[in-house]
Structure formats: C-alpha cells, structure tokens
Amino acid sequence: MKLFVAFSIITTTLISIVTPVQAGEVNVYSARKEALIKPLLDKFSNETGVKVNLVTGSADALITRMQNEGQFSPVDILITTDAGRLVRAKNAGLTQAVVSADIDNIVPQNLRDTDHHWFGLTLRARPIMYAPDKADVNGLSSILDLAKPKYKGQVCIRSSGNIYNQSMIAALTIELGEEAVEKWAKGLVANMARSPKGGDRDQIKAVAAGQCSIAVANTYYLAGMLSSDDASEREQASKVKVLWTDQNSFGTHVNISGAAVAKHAPNAEAAKQLLAYMLLPSSQQWYAQENHEYPVHKDVPWSELMQGFGEFNAQSVSLDAVGEGNADALRLMDRAGWK
C-alpha cells in the first residue's frame, strides 16, 4: 500500500514536470547540445512570446524517432551538427522545402540544399593543428601531406566512427576519387601516433603533451580550450597552432550545423519564424562568440580567438554530396584499417 501511495505521488510529480504541448509553440529536435542551443531559443521566446519545446539527442536517434512518429510527429524543426544527417532526413522524406529569399541571400549556395530542404546555421572548419616546437611543418600544406612517411608516428586523429572524419573523407573523395583517398588513408593510418581514441580536444591535448606533433581537429574545440575555466586546458591549447590546409587548392574541409523544417510540422509558421531568427546577425554573433563557430552570415564578426586563427579558404564542395557520401567514406576507412 505504501508503495502504491509512493508510486502515485511520483507519477503525479513526473506528469507535472512534463508540461503538455500547446499551440503558439514550436517543437525542436536538436542534435546540438542543450548548452549550445537553449540560450538562443530562450532569447527567441522572450522576444517573440513563442514557446520553444526542446528535445536534444543524437541526430540519428532523433531521425529514427521522427520516422516512427510519422505524420503525427510533433516536431517542427530538426537541428543537426552536420550536413550528412540533414541529407539523410531529407532522403527519408522527413523534411519539407522552405523557400525564402532571406535564406538564399544569407547562406552561401554550397551550404544549403538545392531543393531548399535544409541550410547551414554555422560553419565548422577542420584544419591541422600542430606543436611548433615538435612538428616539422616544412612541406606540410595539404591534408594529404599527413600520409608522407616523414610524419610516421606523429599524427593524432579521432576514430573513423566520428562524423567529422566521415564528412572530411567524403569531401576528399569528391575532390580526388575513392582510390586516391583510400591510398592516402592507409598512409595516414600508418602515420598515426596511437590507435584513435577520445574526441577532438583529446587530440589537441596529445599534441600538447608530446604524444604526437600533429592533430586534425575542429577549431571551436581549440577555441573552447583557450577560453576554458580550467587553467591546464588553456595552457595545453596555447602550445598548439592552427595550420590551414590546401589553401592553394580545394581549401580546408568545413561542415555545418544546420536546420530543416519537418514535413509534418504542426507549427510550420512559428518554425520558419525561428529559423529566420537563427540567421539574424545577433543570433549568428551568439554562435561566434559563445562557441566560436564561423557564422554563415558573412557580415557577422568572428570572435577574437577565431580571428587569431586567421582567415582561410574553405572547401566549396557541395555539402549535399558530402552527406550522400558518408556511408561510403566509413567503408573506405574500414578498409584502410582506420579504427
């Protein structure tokens, strides 16, 4: 009996915590972590009065959830941290086209879907990072140079399971063809200082500690370390420099975090309003200042740290195609022995 009473009390508490979904709202499934999206959504709610309901999770899980919820799905907007997932959602018939002159004007063409289903919110660059006192960067100007025998045992990069690497390989494959990239990947694997483990920050830390001299990582991780509360992280990051790859050819690999409106969005109008809000200079600046991601809006200034990394030429390959090539990229890495 006691158990029953306790159980009913708990159930009631839980129900009261989860507020029901009402009109005048917009529902967001986000693969961007709560800390990196909620403040912006709260700002939107404050300014417009439209309530934003949020579920975060991995993009694939959220896509699966949308598929199973089908036409009754409450979701209005899907936000992901790479183009591949948006392509997958689109191919699964889960998104709808949003034709807007604003989006077309602000977002460069290679960073949005040709059928207007999705577009990029921010840009994430993946250059080489190195320890100036250890790495011989003479003759290191391309990502392809990482397979040179002289860098044997010097390269740190995270696992092939990581989406940033998959997209990078997919983009390279578009530029150079599968055969060349596979050969290069084998050379890279042979040069690895250790079996891949950890995230991007870990690769940077390994460079700082001297386990390797060169790493491949997204810049906002380095910026995050440089602005960390933790003094040792700041110190480690200060030992590492950014090298923009392939500046005279196809450019440094970039990916996006982006958004799409769900096919069965019950609040499509509010959703479009939120998307437009995310492209406003003030929101774009928030991304740049808070998480040091490159704004897609070209007039928005970069954070000081990002300016410190310098200007660069970004790879201009269509992210649509990159997204399509993700699975093949993973199979290529499997064959190359990239753990």
Binding site: L3, A6, F7, I10, T11, T13, L14, I15, I17, V18, K33, E34, A35, N53, L54, V55, T56, S58, D60, A61, L62, T64, R65, N68, E69, G70, F72, S73, P74, R88, G161, I163, Q166, S195, K197, G198, G199, R201, D202, K205, A206, A208, A209, G210, Q211, Y221, G224, S228, D229, D230, S232, E233, Q236, N326, A327, A329, L330, R331, D334, K339
Partner: protein, 547 residues
C-alpha cells in the same frame, strides 16, 4: 472453479504484459530474418572479427574481475571481524553509484598522457613523451579494470547474502570431514553460492556487453560500437538492429547453458537462518591489515579517487548548483528513478511468483525472454520501443478517425510512458534475477503449509513471501534505481519535450569533452545514487544479520 478462473485470468494478464514487454525484443530478433548480405559481407571483410574478439575479451574480463572483487569482499565481510569492517559495510556498495562512462572520464583525466600525473612526471624528471613507460588507460585492459571496479557490487550484494545465509553448520561438517579452509571454500561454499554468484556476474557481464559510453571513449571496437557505427555512419538501421539481435541471441544461449548445467540441482536453505555474527573470525596484525585492504582498495579506486577528481572539477561550477533549473533536474531524475524501480520490482515479483506456481517450460522461457533486455544497449531497446509505440499510435489514430473522424495524435510515443516502458524492458532482468534468487531460497514447504491453512496465493505472497523476500526486493529496488539514474541512451531518444535527467546533462557535456562542466551533474548522479544505497545497505545489513 472460481479459483481456477481467477488463476486463468491472472495468467492471461501476465501473458499480455509479457508480450507487451517482449515486443521490442521480438522485433530486434525477428530482424535477423532479413539479412542484408552486402552490408554483412563488408563487416565480415573488415571489422566484424574485431568486434567479436573485443566484446568477448572485455565481457569475460569484466566477468572475472567483478567475480574476483565481489566474492573476495563478500567473503571477508561475512567471515572475518576486522578493523574496517563496520565502515566497509557502507562503503563497499558505493562504486555502484558511478556510471562506467564517468569512471572512464575521470581516470582518463588523471592518467592520460596530457593528464596531471604524466605532466608532473615529465616536468619533474624533464622527460619527453616516449622517454618513460606508462600504462595506457584507454585500452582494452583499462576498460576491463575500470568496469570491474564499478560493476563488482552486483556480485558483492548477491554473494554476501548467499554467504551469510549459508548455515554455519556446513563449516562444522567440513571440519569434521577433515577439509581445510580453502577446500571448504572451493568445494562447499562456492558451489552452494553458485546461483547467486552467477546471477551477479551475469548482470555485470550483460551491462558490459551493453556499454557504449566507455568503449566509444576508449576507442575499443565492440559489438555496441559496431551497432552505432552501422546505424549512424552507414545509415543502416537494419544492420544495426541485426547486430543487436545477435547480441541478444548470444546472451540467451549463455543463460540457457547455465540453467541447463544446474537443471537437476535445487538450492534451498534451512528455514531458520542462524545469526552468524559470533562465527566471524577475529583478525589481528598482518591478516587484519590484508583483509582490510582487500575490502578497501576496490572502494578507493572505484569510488573515492574518481569522486575526488569530480569534486576538484566541480569546484569551479558551484554557482550552477543553486539554479532552479538544476533543482528540477535533480527532482525529475530522482522521481523517475524511484517510480521506475517500484514499477519494475512489482512486475518482476508477479512473474517470478507465477513461475513458482506454474513451474513449466513456458513460464520458464517467459522469464528468460523478459531477462534479455539488460544485455541490449539502451539505444537498441529505444528503437524497439519507438517501432512498437509508433505502430500502436497509428492504430489508435486510425481507430479514432474511424469512430469520430478526428485524429488524436501521438499518445504513447514521446511520452514519459515510453521512457518508463523502455526502462522496464531494459532493467526487468535485474529485478527478476533478484526475485527469482529470493524465491529460490524459500522452501516450497512453506507454500504448502500456507495452502493447507487455507491462505490464498495472493495472501501467501503478501504475508509470507514478501517479508521473507525483503532482502531480494530491496536489492532489486536499489539496483534498478541506480541503473535508471545512470541510464542514458534510451532516455535521450525517448524522453518528452523539455525533460532532462542528470545522466543526459552529464553526457551532453562530457561527450563534448567538457569534463569540467560535466563534473557537477556527474557528481550529483553519484550523490543522489548514494541516498538509497545507504538506506538499503542498512536494510540489507539487518536482513543479513538474520533478524
């Protein structure tokens, strides 16, 4: 006649409940019927052998590690009187509160090449990386060690109960038969405790098989990382579910083999448990120190060191602690844990009670099937739940459209109900193992006596069995609660809008490598998890005293 009818209804209800709870599993196993040969060929050519090898080594390693730690500590606690014994009663369970992925993060923070320990060494001796040897924590061996450190309490809890319930007379008989202390341990104590030990080890191994956070962070390719790679990177959900299906079948086979190997043996204890406190041998000197260390070291490495690291990290984040948002996070996590624990234990009690009465093949398989969920990665269970609930929602909507012309929308999917259901599927095994083991120790003559005296089955359950089962029920509640607290992937996928748990918060920050920011929610998981552990240690202690 009425009674038969009642029993029949009861069984039908349980059957429906079982079918419901098994539906995600059935979907997962059934997926094996449609193999995608090209994708499988690629796996076989490249990474599958890696997955299988690493999974087997990791699981067996953690099985041995937790068996060793759990049995040794439980044996010391039940047999010896030593200096630290009073405190150890509380401490030995603490590592249970630490999720495997959190211990992995903390030790990597300390021991990694860029961590404080190696940095200090390098500075102190002016070494460069490569000048010295240091064990790589992010390796298969490291994973086995760390996971054993947090999973051994599963064995310890059950072993301790089993050891303390063994009659001290066995020892006397062994002595009379001229067996040495170690012969007595290996030939009498261990075989008698085997069901309990196996149960504990099986839980630890199943948890290891289902782990994703640790192996992904350590870069070890196992079945689970394979599942996620197939699903995420290749976008091949079917392949992912099929890998999970194989995992499921594997566990089923192991469970069947174990049951088969002891099918003719029944373990019952004498109905009176004798207070064995006076039998504990008082240790002095070196022996005292050794035994104290055996018990303390697992707790030191499995709890105090990681918690200390978390505290150090969390110091800078204390201002978040007071925010209202944080309080909501704690209360919702805690309520969810308690609610689900009670629900799961009630369901488990019903099923194992049914098996006691209707002990046939069917009810036996029913329970085995219900136990499978624990070995499945939470994400896979979540997919099963999504499919089942999505289907249910479509049917409901078609029906309502037919009747009223209106769609009612999603009722099951995206609700807290879906989350709780997934927990039931996933954690029923823990509760079942406990209730089954508990029922197994109650001799059937008690039921016969109750029946002779005219007590109904329900009354027997409530007034006779439940008090006798107290230890098992409590440990079941404890284990489920703590597991819910730590559960991550299923919660991530299934939770309703604006609902977060501590594990979700921790994971989001930690997976972004913001370990310092993740420390506070991680520490809170540990602390919230401690409350029931402390309360239940006390309760377990009372039961184990035979009061």
């Amino acid at each position: 006649m009425l009674r038969t009818l009642q029993a029949l209804t009861g069984r039908t209800v349980l059957l429906i409940l079982c079918a419901f709870l098994c539906s995600p599993l059935v979907i997962i196993i059934a997926s094996l019927l449609w193999p995608d040969s090209a994708a499988w060929q690629h796996l076989i050519d490249t990474v599958l052998s890696d997955y299988v090898f690493n999974s087997i080594v990791l699981t067996l390693g953690v099985g041995c590690g937790s068996l060793l730690l759990g049995t040794a500590t439980a044996w010391c606690m039940t047999q010896y009187e030593f200096s630290l014994r009073q405190v150890m009663r509380w401490l030995l369970l603490l590592p249970l509160a630490i999720p495997a992925y959190i211990i992995a993060y903390t030790y990597t923070g300390i021991l990694d090449v860029s961590g404080p320990l190696q940095s200090t060494l390098r500075e102190a001796f002016d070494w460069q990386f490569g000048d010295y040897w240091f064990p790589e924590i992010r390796s298969l061996g490291g994973a086995i060690l760390l996971m054993s450190l947090v999973l051994y309490p599963y064995v310890y809890i059950l072993a301790r109960t089993a050891f303390s319930e063994q009659s001290p007379r066995f020892k006397e008989v062994s002595a009379l038969a001229g067996l040495s202390a170690s012969q007595h341990f290996y030939r009498i104590v261990l075989p008698l405790a085997r069901p309990a030990l196996f149960t504990g080890v099986a839980l630890a191994m199943m948890e290891t098989l289902a782990d994703y956070g640790t192996v992904a962070y350590f870069g070890i390719n196992t079945f689970t990382t394979g599942i996620f790679r197939s699903w995420y990177a290749m976008g091949n959900q079917l392949l992912a579910i099929q890998l999970a299906g194989i995992l499921c079948l594997f566990v089923l086979v192991v469970l069947v083999l174990e049951q088969h190997s002891r099918r003719r043996i029944k373990y019952y204890q004498a109905s009176t448990v004798i207070d064995s406190r006076h039998d504990r041998k008082k240790l002095r000197g070196a022996q005292n120190i050794t035994v104290s260390l055996i018990c303390f070291l697992p707790v030191l490495f499995g709890f105090f060191i990681p918690v200390l690291q978390l505290v150090v990290w969390a110091m800078s984040q204390l201002d978040t602690l007071l925010s209202a948002d944080y309080l909501t996070l704690v209360t919702s996590t805690f309520s969810l844990g308690v609610g689900v624990a009670i629900l799961v234990v009630c369901i488990a009690l019903l099923f194992s009670y049914q098996q006691r009465w209707v002990n046939n093949r069917f009810s036996y398989w029913q329970i085995r099937l219900l136990s499978l969920g624990y070995a499945l990665p939470g994400m896979v269970v979540a997919v099963g739940v999504l499919v089942v609930f999505g289907f249910a929602d479509r049917q409901v909507n078609q029906l309502s459209h037919l009747i009223s012309g209106e769609y009612v929308g999603l009722i099951f999917s995206g609700s807290l109900f879906a989350v709780m259901f997934a927990y039931c599927v996933r954690f029923l095994s823990i509760a079942l193992q406990n209730t089954e083991a508990g029922f197994g120790r109650i001799t059937p003559t008690i039921d016969d006596a109750a029946a002779t005296l005219g007590a109904s089955r329900l009354k027997t359950l409530v007034t006779i069995h439940s008090p006798l089962l107290r230890a098992s029920l409590l440990s079941a509640l404890l284990l489920v609660f703590v597991d819910v607290l730590k559960e991550l992937p299923a919660t991530l996928v299934l939770r309703p809008f604006n609902f977060n748990t501590l594990a979700v918060r921790t994971y989001e920050l930690a997976s972004d490598e913001r370990l310092v920011d993740a420390a506070l929610p991680a520490l809170t998981i540990v602390l919230v998890g401690l409350l029931p552990i402390l309360w239940l240690t006390k309760a377990l202690d009372n039961v184990n005293k035979g009061s």
